[in-house]
Symmetry: C2
Subunit: 419 residues, 2 copies
């Protein structure tokens, strides 16, 4: 390797994911090893994703990272673990056109620039760290020509953020807790790709919150230390539920999928409540959305919509098909209309072609919505404007990809600094 | 027994109680037998009680009952079970002055008039059925000269409403779940009387709610049928916790009392959340009150206030002594001030002499309250007026008593009809 002034870089896009069988509790805090298996749905990266550009150059004097345009420290152990693991697996790289030649052993001396960007608000509590660490590991693996499959990469991403391991695949993904002390068998595997069950439509209600939330890292530590229900859940409940969920996904059995998703989300929040001091992630708006969905499902006789809530008040609603999703959106907008000065296209984002299907693309169309017929008593007798910040319409999506188009890179190809 | 026109009656007062180790789940729906032991504190009947007058007369042609002035049906099995059990144990009664002589065997033919009144709003979710059934059974036992101790009467009251059995005693009471199929050993026993730990001060926040609540009867049935955590709680968690709570009460160990009360309240609500569909009794206001108490307890190093929530959003806060209660009330009123047109004496009821001690008996005194120093981040940055309907200040109290003063009777001594 000569001391040329080249900058060699790779840009990748990685999806976020939402667990339908929840991860809550580590058996090893350092290696990030969970107390139970978990299962997730990967969300369409067109609507929710992280894009990361990683660059290497002999001219870089230290590792640096920019997250959403702002430089952040890489000194934390989570970043350091991912960087060390990836560097340890780096291969030879040659790009004759650019005059780049990196020998496997050079990676220990070369420095990296990393720029990462989420196409959704980080603060919205939408698992930005999952997509972020998955994208970091995936893009570095491509840059460094790491010869490992996605499951092996998932075990590295896991050391950045547990749920990140599930973002290495599209579709439906299982994180196997593993049994080895070194965590080498605590990896993600794909259960089915995103085409397997492509009727599903996902609507996320980003719920306004005035409560400062407990981080999931400290929350799950406190649950492990104090909840008398967590170990019972991990050992007795989740193993059976995981098998049932795998079957439900395999058979596209929406009734079972819904029953298991809702029960597991509620049980995860039950364990949070059983923690001392108790952790409340859902708020009254979350509860109202659950009531709305439960009533609708009961009135239809067969489940139409599944719900699941992560470590925050946002509702992730999975509709069995597009028609149901349209009705669901109408119901949601009836109960949670936008504030009067809000443009519908900024109140329903992601795949907002659904607005037209729901007849909600015109002016005053929300005011004309009728209450869903199944709701006899008032879930929302009072004005609930402002309880939901916005909705995202999306669907199950693909896993990580390299973005070959240089214009999508977040670093300047000459300087290696953020554009 | 001649067909004279006498009316013979007894008036009694019975307290309500709040569980600190919760009853949630029946193993026998008919006999009302619980899945675990529970422990409660009896609340001072001066502030929260039921008064019941029971009358018998040869002139009555059927059993009748009036609750809070309104005639209600006695045909429900809960009333019928209590009436049958008490009648089966009736003794001879003679009141020479009134010319009353009732032979044991006559009770099967004589009819009863019953009038009952709560000195607190029934709708407030303050265990009115517990005090009500306890008072019904206690007053009938006195009327009919039933020769049974309070524990045996508790087993009858239990068949009206499970938690009613704990209202047969003052102070600290344990409901032993028992093991017999017929429920004869599922009785309440007194752990300590109300004088044992008389430093404690209890402040109840009656929280406004816009949600229709699930009744505890149907809620616990759904939990037994669907929660995968309930049996684990009943079999593995509560037995140990009950022993620890008995010790804490015996030793007046406020730190343990608080830890156990709060953990058990939270776990009961966790089981409700683990029910399908999930049951939410606490709301955002309940959560805010918990955060406030938890922060204060942590900042003091040693617990000052315990909290517990029954099947509703109301907070029952137990302060270690009067001084702490005064500070607690100041903090609560800072975060949850009354609406501007509310008189303080109607916003803090029960023992409202505490208002003067808190310097809150004058005009504008609430506006002058300072935020509690330990609260650094905002629990209540927004206007929370109206979130709490009112507060009740009370303390542990005595068990049932007969009220000999005829002016307190709810039935007319001549007609046997409501006054």
């Amino acid at each position: 390797m000569a001391a040329e002034k080249w900058v060699y870089m790779v840009t990748a896009q990685t999806p976020t994911n939402i667990a339908v069988i929840k991860y809550w509790g580590k058996r090893d805090e350092v290696r990030i090893l969970p107390v139970n298996d978990s299962i997730s749905v990967t969300l369409d990266p067109d609507h929710l994703c992280t894009v990361t550009t990683v660059a290497v150059s002999p001219s870089f004097d230290r590792d640096r990272m920019w997250l959403n345009g702002k430089e952040i420290s890489l000194s934390g152990s989570r970043y350091q673990n991912c960087l060390r693991e990836i560097r340890g697996r780096a291969g030879d790289v040659e790009d004759k056109e650019k005059g780049v030649k990196i020998d496997k052993k050079d990676w220990e001396k070369l420095h990296l620039h990393i720029a990462s960007h989420n196409n959704f608000p980080t603060a919205a509590g939408l698992a930005s760290s999952a997509a972020g660490f998955a994208c970091l590991v995936f893009s570095l693996a491509k840059l460094m020509n790491v010869d490992e499959d996605a499951s092996h990469l998932s075990a590295i991403a896991r050391q950045g953020s547990g749920s990140a391991c599930r973002s290495l695949f599209g579709g439906f993904v299982k994180w196997e807790m593993g049994s080895k002390d070194d965590g080498s068998d605590s990896i993600a595997v794909q259960l089915a790709d995103e085409k397997h069950w492509n009727d599903l439509v996902i609507i996320i209600a980003v719920v306004s919150s005035r409560q400062k939330e407990t981080s999931s890292t400290s929350g799950m530590r406190e649950s492990v230390e104090t909840s008398l229900l967590l170990q019972h859940r991990a050992k007795e409940v989740v193993p059976k539920r995981t098998l049932q969920m795998e079957e439900a996904i395999k058979n596209k059995d929406f009734a079972s999928f819904t029953q298991l998703s809702c029960a597991d989300s509620n049980q995860f929040h039950a364990v949070c409540l059983d923690t001392s001091p108790p952790i409340f992630y859902m708020n009254d708006t979350s509860h109202r959305i659950i009531s709305l969905v439960e009533k609708w499902n009961r009135s239809e006789g067969t489940p139409q919509v599944a719900y699941t809530f992560d470590a925050g008040p946002n509702a992730v609603l999975i509709a069995r098909n597009r028609k149901v999703a349209v009705q669901l959106l109408q119901g949601l907008l009836y109960y949670f209309p936008p504030k009067s000065d809000t443009d519908m296209k900024s109140y329903v984002v992601g795949d907002n072609s659904i607005l037209k299907e729901a007849g909600l693309d015109g002016a005053n169309s929300v005011e004309n919505l009728q209450p869903p017929p199944e709701i006899k008593d008032n879930i929302g007798s009072q004005d609930q404007k402002g309880e939901v910040s916005y909705f995202i319409c999306t669907k199950p999506g693909r896993g990580p990809v390299v973005l070959p188009d240089q214009t999508q890179a977040l670093l300047d190809p000459e300087t290696g600094l953020p554009k």
